[in-house]
């Protein structure tokens, strides 16, 4: 499968889900398929699923999608038991496994040598973990995942390939503020409001 074919299916079904992406192609191709301020790009390798977990726990009624890579997940495998332990039903962790560190020069990861990330997720205690071998299979398991019940883990074996898409249109700090404003607006909450200045207050 091509990564962008997977993203097209997911973008169709994602609705207003908050999405977290990691390094390289995942971020730009996902953003091209599902643009908007409900997307957050992570810069620390490995932390995609952890940041998504924090969002899912903080907003239990909102769907959160972690869009991870094999290299990234391998760096933070302890995220799997932590997700299993909290089991947020609104979290769907999707791993696009191309068996290489694509953004770092296409050097092999351990998954090409037999490490099975779905089996690891299951062994960590994530009950709803499966591979999807085609865009149609992805449509089925991803729709089921978004219905809730348990945290979901979906593995996708994808080709090493980059699609022609525009670069990510903002830096980290702008991404942070746009994402927070999006949450404030869509959830009707205040996250960044500042206290009144002392000079304004009456004794």
């Amino acid at each position: 499968m091509k990564r962008i074919e997977c993203f097209k299916v997911m973008a169709e079904l994602a609705g207003d889900a908050l999405a977290v992406t990691g390094a390289g192609g995942n971020t730009v191709e996902w953003y091209a398929c599902r643009p908007g301020d409900g997307n957050f790009r992570v810069r620390t390798m490995g932390l995609v699923s952890s940041i998504a977990l924090g969002m899912a726990l903080g907003l239990p009624h909102r769907q959160v999608i972690a869009i991870d890579g094999d290299g990234s997940l391998l760096m933070n495998l302890c995220s799997l038991p932590t997700i299993a332990r909290k089991n947020p039903p609104n979290l769907t962790h999707v791993v696009l496994d191309n068996e290489v560190y694509e953004a770092s020069g296409e050097i092999d990861t351990a998954t090409g040598a037999g490490t099975d990330l779905v089996a690891m997720a299951r062994a960590a205690g994530i009950r709803r973990a499966s591979w999807a071998a085609s865009p149609d299979e992805l449509r089925t398991v991803f729709s089921e995942a978004l219905e809730g019940g348990d945290a979901a883990f979906i593995g996708l074996k994808v080709e090493t390939s980059r699609s022609e898409v525009p670069p990510y249109p903002m830096d980290e700090v702008e991404n942070k503020y746009r994402f927070i404003r999006h949450v404030e607006k869509t959830e009707g909450v205040n996250i960044l409001s500042m206290p009144m200045p002392v000079s304004f207050l009456k004794d």
């Binding site: 992570v42 620390t44 977990l53 924090g54 969002m55 726990l57 991404n175 996250i191």
Partner: protein, 171 residues
């Protein structure tokens, strides 16, 4: 020691500051504190396997409106440095770090951890405050939460054995 007021005062400070998501990794000296965090109904408690994932979880929580704290040993601070640099500092995220100060003066172990803790925090531009007196705990926790939110960077409170009730009499 049983019944020491420190852990309760720290948790009271967290509650009064409005902290509602706390990620933790155990240390024997944090035991009483973590039990109280886990028992607090106002707080979503996330037990970790490694401290750096807590940087991510607290970041995600902050992005959707939670007030977060991460409780760990200073060894966990060292484990978390990449996440602190490329997430918290790169994006200007606030986070209250409550760090057990292993290797503090008077301790019989972890003296290298103790020696490196404040220099590492200084190198990262993370302001830090040593907490020894339980009577100061509530106020300091509340004030550091205000500071980290204004500073938009993490701020650390170094929890000593004294405030955690783990200093043996005469030590």
């Amino acid at each position: 020691m049983a019944g020491h007021p420190g852990p309760e005062m720290i948790v009271e400070g967290l509650k009064e500051a409005g902290v509602d998501l706390v990620a933790t990794l155990p240390d024997i000296n944090l035991h009483a504190l973590l039990e109280q965090v886990a028992a607090a109904p106002e707080i979503t408690h996330v037990p970790l396997c490694r401290e750096e994932e807590g940087i991510g979880i607290c970041t995600g929580g902050y992005l959707v409106g939670k007030k977060c704290a991460l409780i760990m040993q200073n060894g966990g601070l060292f484990n978390s440095v990449n996440g602190i640099v490329s997430t918290l500092l790169q994006y200007n995220f606030p986070l209250l770090l409550l760090i057990y100060f292993a290797g503090d003066v008077g301790d019989r172990s972890f003296s290298t951890n103790g020696a490196m803790t404040q220099p590492v925090l200084d190198a990262l531009g993370i302001r830090h405050f040593v907490l020894r007196d339980p009577d100061e705990a509530r106020t300091l926790i509340k004030r550091t939460l205000v500071l980290t939110q204004d500073y938009k960077r993490p701020v650390a409170v170094l929890l000593t054995k004294d405030v955690l009730g783990r200093r043996r009499p005469g030590e």
